[in-house]
């Protein structure tokens, strides 16, 4: 390559840069804040003030939310009761309310009972009401009638307590409602398990235990969002209020979930602070929304209390694969194999332009499969399509790795093994380098049909048909063996050489490059690493020249004071310019290939390059 040619290439690249500079102001990326619509947990609500003393109330069904197909757990969270005395006078005092769910109308079988709740000094007339929160749940079957009774006890006060409109005094009052859970409208559900972190709460905030929360979900029935929709996992308390954690964040949510299976398992390993909810019931909520952020469905897990649950402490920077291990793939079947994982890369400054790759930790290389995050924490899905899984490195350990070329912390998931299914392994073994794979039959089957093989016709004591079959089988077997031998030689000559110097040089160099992304510099040469944690080069200004010593950014993002603000105009301009620079890079490569091609042609033809350029 002559000096003139290098100058030409550089000038061409410079021209392209200048051209794109004209357009970068027109470009900008905007991060859209993600919001989900909160809806209140369905709560059975009691507000009748005429039935009393064991009368059966057969009003509207009070339960209208299910979390599974055949059974459901219902939390009677709040109840309003209106009381007054029968003589028209208000009575102040103390009474106790206890709630029960019964299997029959006389409450001979109590399925669940609430804690007693004391009410004191209630007011007058209609204003007299109290709320009862049951802290126990009962599993109710659909289409079976249950009864709810609450009991008033005035043992602590000797005055009479009347229901409004009623008469007489009560010390134990049976009050029934029929609960007829309707047929579930959806088969969707969400459940969870946790394997650690059951420490009790100490102080105002829970212990910072790590979380390993396995979440099983199924929204295949009605809750699967369309393309562009969203799935959000959050926590809610018993009153349906959204428990934001760590200053307003959801637990995690997905962005584009087009490839996300409608059912599966995920493991949430992040942490979240739910301090202050240690004794209240908490629900894991899975909300699906459409592409206009309208809630399609909310489903709830079984409730738990914070002191029973793993303490969810939010932390940045993790990727976790929680699916099957090993993961078996059916090769050749016209389906896809989604690999789901949860991630949180919010601590990565440039997470919006990062890529999460399926990474082969055995060969230390990225695969061709990747996931581009649209939110900084959520569920990622890498879909392995079987059409391009040919040649995939099976039986190897894989990880999900954040592709990050410069300085920022490398985040990599736990490892898992991807295998072919046993059937695929057998088929591959059979087809590998086999002539028989062309015909899909064995030499025996290829030679003759079963009818021919089993023929008993003899001519002069010789079965000519079977003899012919044997000859043909021997031919096919020989041919197949020959092809296998040729293939084996070829395989050794090509694959084997990959590990022999100097043919291994490209592989070794590529491996060294990948490895350098997660390698710390040796301490004795660490002084060569001059960039700070933001990737900026700094310059210490001497006090002898500038009056006071200070550190200034010599080159890097930090030299622009407003660049660290993602909403600033300058940041958007930089992002736009950075996006356009991608096309400059590939354009320069194309230009280089073209110029190199000219040089190659001139070399081959023995002509001077000036005749081509």
């Amino acid at each position: 390559m002559t000096t003139i040619k290098i100058i030409k290439i550089c000038s061409s690249i410079g021209s392209l840069v200048g051209l794109f500079l004209l357009f970068f102001l027109l470009s900008g990326q905007q991060v859209k804040a993600e919001e989900t619509t909160a809806i209140v947990v369905v709560q059975p609500h009691f507000n009748d003030n005429y039935s009393y003393n064991g009368q059966l109330y057969t009003g509207t069904s009070l339960i209208n939310s299910f979390t599974s197909a055949t059974t459901t757990t219902v939390y009677l969270t709040r109840m309003e009761a209106v009381f007054s005395d029968g003589a028209g006078s208000d009575v102040a005092g103390t009474y106790t309310v206890t709630g029960s769910i019964c299997a029959d109308s006389v409450c001979s079988t109590v399925l669940a009972t609430s804690n007693s709740t004391d009410f004191a000094n209630y007011g007058t007339g209609f204003a007299n009401w109290g709320a009862v929160t049951l802290d126990k749940s009962v599993e109710l079957l659909p289409n079976v009638t249950y009864y709810y009774r609450y009991t008033l006890n005035t043992a602590s006060y000797n005055n009479y307590i009347y229901l409004r409109g009623g008469a007489g005094y009560i010390t134990a009052f049976g009050y029934f409602y029929s609960l007829t859970p309707p047929t579930p409208a959806t088969m969707d559900y969400i459940n969870y398990n946790y394997s650690q972190g059951q420490a009790n709460i100490t102080g105002a905030y829970p212990n910072l235990d790590p979380l390993n929360w396995s979440i099983h979900y199924n929204v295949c029935d009605t809750g699967y969002p369309p393309s562009g929709g969203n799935i959000t996992f959050s926590l809610e308390d018993v009153d349906g209020y959204d428990l934001t954690v760590n200053g307003g964040q959801k637990l995690f949510s997905t962005g584009f979930i087009g490839a996300m299976p409608c059912q599966g398992d995920i493991v949430y390993t992040g942490k979240a602070d739910i301090g202050g909810y240690g004794t209240s019931m908490v629900f894991l909520v899975m909300t699906t929304t459409d592409n206009e952020n309208t809630v399609i469905q909310k489903i709830y897990s079984d409730g738990f209390t914070a002191h029973q649950s793993p303490h969810i402490i939010y932390s940045n920077g993790n990727i976790h694969y929680g699916g099957k291990n090993p993961l078996n793939i059916n090769v050749g079947v016209a389906t896809s194999t989604p690999i789901s994982f949860d991630y949180n890369i919010c601590n990565q400054e440039n997470w919006a332009s990062s890529t999460l790759w399926l990474y082969n930790s055995t060969t230390n290389k990225n695969t061709i499969y990747s996931f581009t995050p649209t939110v900084c924490s959520g569920i990622g899905v890498i879909d392995m399509t079987n059409e391009i899984s040919l040649g995939f490195n099976y039986n190897a350990v894989y990880q999900i790795r954040l592709e990050d070329l410069v300085l920022e912390t490398q985040i990599i998931s736990n490892g898992f093994v991807i295998n072919m299914s046993s059937q695929d392994i057998k088929e591959q073994e059979l087809n590998r380098a086999s002539l028989m794979s062309i015909f899909g039959k064995s030499p025996h089957d290829l030679a003759c049909t079963n009818t021919e093989w089993s023929t008993s016709d003899n001519a002069f004591g010789i079965n000519m048909v079977k003899m012919g079959c044997n000859i043909k089988e021997a031919f096919w077997s020989t041919a197949d063996t020959g092809i296998r031998a040729v293939y084996t030689i070829f395989e050794v000559a090509t694959l084997g050489l990959r590990y022999v110097f100097p043919f291994n040089l490209p592989i070794k160099i590529s491996d060294a490059w990948d490895k350098s992304a997660i390698t710390e510099m040796p301490s004795d040469v660490a002084f060569l690493n001059q960039a700070d944690s933001n990737g900026d080069f700094n310059l210490d200004m001497p006090s002898s020249l500038f009056g006071a010593s200070s550190t200034r950014v010599l080159i890097g993002k930090g030299m622009l004071p407003t660049a660290n603000d993602p909403n600033s105009k300058l940041s958007k301009i930089l992002l736009g310019f950075k996006g356009l620079s991608k096309y400059v890079n590939w354009g320069a490569l194309a230009l280089g290939i073209w110029l190199t091609g000219q040089a190659v042609l001139s070399d081959l033809n023995g002509k001077k390059e000036e005749e081509y350029i």
Partner: protein, 86 residues
């Protein structure tokens, strides 16, 4: 026959030389050094990352190197062929 033995000897010597060189290379931690050089290189180019799309730049450079290597491998193959064809 003489030419055949001569060529066979040349191939043998080349193989022996490459094998020996490869053993020497593998005996020293050269790939650790190269990895460290790459670490420094990443550090040096990191400030540019604020303005320039480094992943695609490195990809483009990688493809340039591959094309370069492929071309000279092709030339080497032709050269070896010409040597043995004489």
């Amino acid at each position: 026959m003489t030419n055949f033995l001569k060529n066979l000897g040349i191939v043998g010597l080349i193989t022996l030389g490459l094998t020996t060189f490869g053993m020497v290379i593998n005996a020293i931690p050269i790939w650790d050094w190269i990895t460290n050089i790459f670490v420094i290189l990443r550090n040096l180019i990191s400030p540019i990352g604020a303005f320039w799309d480094l992943p695609s730049l490195l990809d483009a450079i990688g493809w340039g190197i591959k094309i370069f290597v492929a071309y000279y491998t092709f030339l080497a193959t032709i050269t070896i062929y010409r040597v043995f064809a004489k």
